[in-house]
């Protein structure tokens, strides 16, 4: 194997007349150590149409086959964790919206869950229902858009994406009516939710949930049986069960590899134990399984939403003991985690009894699911890299924090 760290291996003198190397190439050696030619090194990103944000992959190619891939991130680093340690608990809440900016509701929930564990707060029943409803709506819109983005990466000219965005708009309208913001909801509070549901919101949500299967059927009919989609996605980027477990993969990606691990079932946080839903599992762990699993999970989300919207009780929406001002939890530590649409989203908090957390740590599913990107991509074609990246489902706001 070539030592890529050696400067002579990384650079080749430029063409005559060029002041610097014109093209960065990696020399290729035969088994006998003779120079055979060059491998092409491509820096895919940070400005690339399909890296889903500012993310870079350093690829080394032989023809179009990937023989080495190095993910480079940090372009969107905002010092989230350190900033959160300098401010009070509550003022980090709107900042969690910006982690995974597609799923602000679940981010809020995970953070609220950690603080509630720390401070020993109880969440009223109505608030638990609202949390479940908003979280499952978030899952619906996240999965629908992911499938759209994946099809965009496949070159489908945005048509599936626009179909998915049509549905997402309806869900964002609901979030706007609920919290005043479409994406940065900042809705949950420690011990409950910020404000009660506006009048008519439940009716509107029920209508959306009733209409949603039609969209899913349409999506499924148009996409899942398409031969090009199957040929492009099946057998590409297969993730073995062992690697998925060892690398700490979570969420739909883990379940696509056949591991039955859904935190909604394992932890039964909130009131998930009251609802009947199934956990779909993949057998191959390839891109198609990851794609299909999201579709099936959306159907299960609807199965949670229907009874939740029917049974939601009236009552307070926030724990009476919860203090908004002068909130100082007792010293200790807590880890709150939920099944976010992208995987296990956890917040680890250490309190020293002051108004600010002593340590604030996010376990972002996007980042940890991204760590095995090279294992998935080796031996695949360039065109597959963007699909594999798309099927991992990342949001760079969460990867870089």
């Amino acid at each position: 194997m070539v030592d890529f760290a050696q400067p002579e291996n990384a650079f080749k003198p430029g063409l005559p007349g060029a002041a610097e190397p014109a093209c960065r190439v990696v020399p290729k050696y035969s088994d006998q150590g003779e120079r055979e030619g060059d491998w092409l090194e491509i820096s895919m990103g940070p400005q690339h149409p399909s890296t889903h944000g500012v993310f870079r992959m350093d690829l080394v190619l032989e023809g179009e086959t990937v023989i080495r891939l190095k993910p480079v991130f940090g372009y969107l680093h905002r010092n989230h964790e350190k900033i959160a340690e300098q401010t009070t608990y509550l003022s980090s809440m709107p900042y969690t919206d910006r982690l995974d900016y597609f799923c602000s509701m679940t981010n809020n929930w995970a953070y609220a869950l950690a603080v509630e564990k720390l401070a020993g707060l109880q969440v009223p029943e109505r608030a638990e229902y609202i949390r479940i409803i908003t979280a499952e709506l978030t899952r619906l819109q996240n999965h629908a858009c992911l499938m759209g983005f994946l099809m965009q990466d496949l070159g489908a000219m945005g048509t599936p994406l626009m179909y998915a965005f049509r549905e997402r708009e309806k869900i964002l309208d609901l979030f706007e009516a609920l919290s005043g913001a479409r994406m940065m909801c900042n809705y949950m509070r420690f011990g409950g939710c910020r404000i009660d549901l506006p009048p008519g919101w439940l009716e509107q949500t029920r209508r959306l949930v009733a209409d949603f299967p039609r969209f899913l059927d349409e999506f499924e009919a148009l996409l899942t049986g398409n031969e090009i989609v199957m040929a492009r996605l099946q057998g590409v980027g297969a993730l073995s069960r062992e690697l998925a477990i060892n690398a700490g993969i979570s969420g739909p990606m883990l379940r696509a590899s056949g591991v039955n691990y859904d935190i909604r079932k394992v932890d039964q946080y909130g009131i998930y134990n009251r609802f009947e839903f199934r956990v779909p599992l993949g057998a191959h762990g390839d891109c198609y399984d990851r794609f299909m699993l999201r579709l099936l999970e959306m159907r299960e989300s609807l199965r949670i939403l229907e009874p939740a919207l029917k049974d939601i009780p009236s009552g307070p929406i926030i724990d009476a003991r919860a203090k908004l001002r002068n909130f100082k939890p007792r010293p200790g530590e807590a880890y709150g985690r939920i099944e976010a649409p992208k995987g296990e989203l956890g917040f680890y908090l250490v309190s020293d009894g002051s108004a600010n957390p002593y340590r604030y740590r996010v376990r972002p599913p996007s980042l940890i699911n991204l760590t095995i990107l090279e294992d998935l991509c080796l031996g695949q074609k360039v065109a597959d890299v963007v699909i594999i990246l798309g099927s991992v489902d990342i949001v760079l706001g969460e990867v870089d924090r």
Binding site: A18, A22, C23, L40, I42, H48, P49, S50, E64, M151, Q152, D153, L154, G155, A156, M157, G158, T159, M162, Y163, R166, T224, G225, N226, E227, I228, V229, M230, A231, R232, Q234, G235, N260, D262, K265, R278, V279, P280, L281, G282, A283, H284, Y288, D289, M292, L293, L296, K381, V382, A383, D384, V385, V386
Partner: protein, 400 residues
């Protein structure tokens, strides 16, 4: 006689009236060809503008959005706005690009396609150059596009451009074969390489039905193969790998901007018009009206109507299908389209050999037998390809 000497002779001829001089000048082959060239360029450029608007509007409607609707009523001035934008944009050439080749590539792309457009018959008398080997000329000149793609990719000194050029050449060469093979059947059955004669051979058949080649089994199969290969040849979705926007950004056009990019864009559309035009000429009866009672409508109308229909088909496919991968594309061309195109030869021979059948229903019988061969091969090959790749629908289980 060169145009220069013609002009000198005309200027020196003081005896004739100026009208006669003008007539002499106007019927001179050089002038005729120049005018024809100008008309072809102008008409296709205008058509290009209309089609870009149609494409953007059509894609918009397919994607649940209105499409361009700001420039002029219903956005009809959008092509003008696009054109102004393209021309006024800064023309960026990479510092270390091969300046000359980088400059030439768009022109090398556009010029041959314009020449290819010249041999197509647009109407009964509307053919700029009536070549005896029009089909041959069309393919020979059309291949220059590969050179241009390679020039653009190589001279840009960009890795994405190089990958795009690599893909473009591999794809165009692979799909040239099924394209030519599907065309050869028509040449074989018509017995002529002249596009004008091929169209003339597709007049009305019996009972007032159109005698287009597409209504024969070999013609239908040939047309479908031709259309698929034509989409790949003109880099249209689902074979738009050389651009591969989501993978390799813009392919060989990555480093082009401003008017050079516009020329590439125009060449791509001209290429689409040219292959669609060839398809119309070979299989869809060229400028012939579908029914005899409609023959009073000028031939150019039918030609343009068929062209719009074909191009709209391409737009529809673009808004619908995802893209193939490079190796799948090659497999598709060599292992699927090529055998089908070769089998189509056998079908055509069978069709020709059974032309003497006289019993009642013979035509239908011949049709079904010949088409059955191609259709059977189509399904068989397709299934075999999917099975070998172990691709198919899956059933998912749920955790207990």
């Amino acid at each position: 006689m060169t145009p220069w000497s013609t002009l000198l002779a005309l200027a020196g001829d003081a005896t004739g009236s100026w009208l006669a001089q003008l007539k002499n000048l106007a019927t001179h082959p050089w002038v005729v060809n120049l005018v024809a060239m100008a008309v072809i360029l102008g008409a296709n450029a205008a058509f290009f503008a209309v089609i870009t608007l149609l494409e953007r509007k059509g894609l918009g409607r397919i994607q649940n959005r209105p499409g361009p609707n700001r420039a002029g009523p219903f956005g009809i001035l959008q092509p003008a706005a696009d054109g102004i934008k393209m021309i006024t944009k800064e023309d960026i050439v990479p510092e270390r690009a091969d300046q000359l080749v980088h400059f030439l590539a768009p022109l090398v792309m556009l010029a041959p396609i314009t020449l290819a457009l010249a041999v197509l018959p647009y109407g009964p008398q509307l053919v700029a150059v009536n070549l005896d080997a029009g089909v041959l000329f069309f393919f020979a000149i059309g291949t220059a596009g590969e050179l241009a793609a390679f020039m653009a990719g190589w001279s840009s000194r960009n890795k994405y451009s190089l990958l795009g050029a690599m893909r473009a050449i591999a794809q165009m060469i692979s799909f040239e074969l099924p394209l030519v093979l599907s065309t050869l059947v028509v040449i074989m059955m018509t017995g002529s390489m002249s596009l004008v004669e091929i169209v003339a051979g597709q007049g009305s058949a019996a009972w007032g039905l159109p005698g287009w080649n597409i209504f024969t089994p070999w013609g239908l199969a040939g047309f479908l193969i031709f259309l698929t290969a034509a989409a790949a040849e003109s880099n249209r979705s689902p074979f738009d790998l050389p651009e591969g926007e989501s993978e390799i950004i813009g392919g060989f056009m990555t480093e082009y901007s401003g008017f050079k990019y516009a020329v590439f864009f125009m060449a791509e559309y001209f290429g689409m018009f040219a292959v669609s035009g060839l398809g119309i000429t070979l299989f869809l009866g060229g400028w012939h009206a579908p029914f005899p009672f409609l023959e009073w409508v000028p031939g150019i109308f039918w030609y343009v109507a068929k062209l719009v229909a074909l191009v709209f088909g391409f737009i529809w496919i673009r808004g619908t299908l995802p893209r193939l991968r490079a190796d799948q594309l090659m497999n598709f061309s060599w292992k699927f389209l090529m055998p089908l195109a070769l089998l189509n030869f056998a079908t055509a021979i069978l069709w020709h050999a059974t032309a003497g059948w006289q019993f009642p229903g013979a035509w239908l019988c011949r049709w079904l037998v010949c088409f059955g061969i191609v259709a059977g091969a189509f399904t068989g090959l397709g299934r075999a390809m999917l099975r070998r790749r172990q691709v198919g629908p899956r059933i998912y289980r749920y955790a207990s």
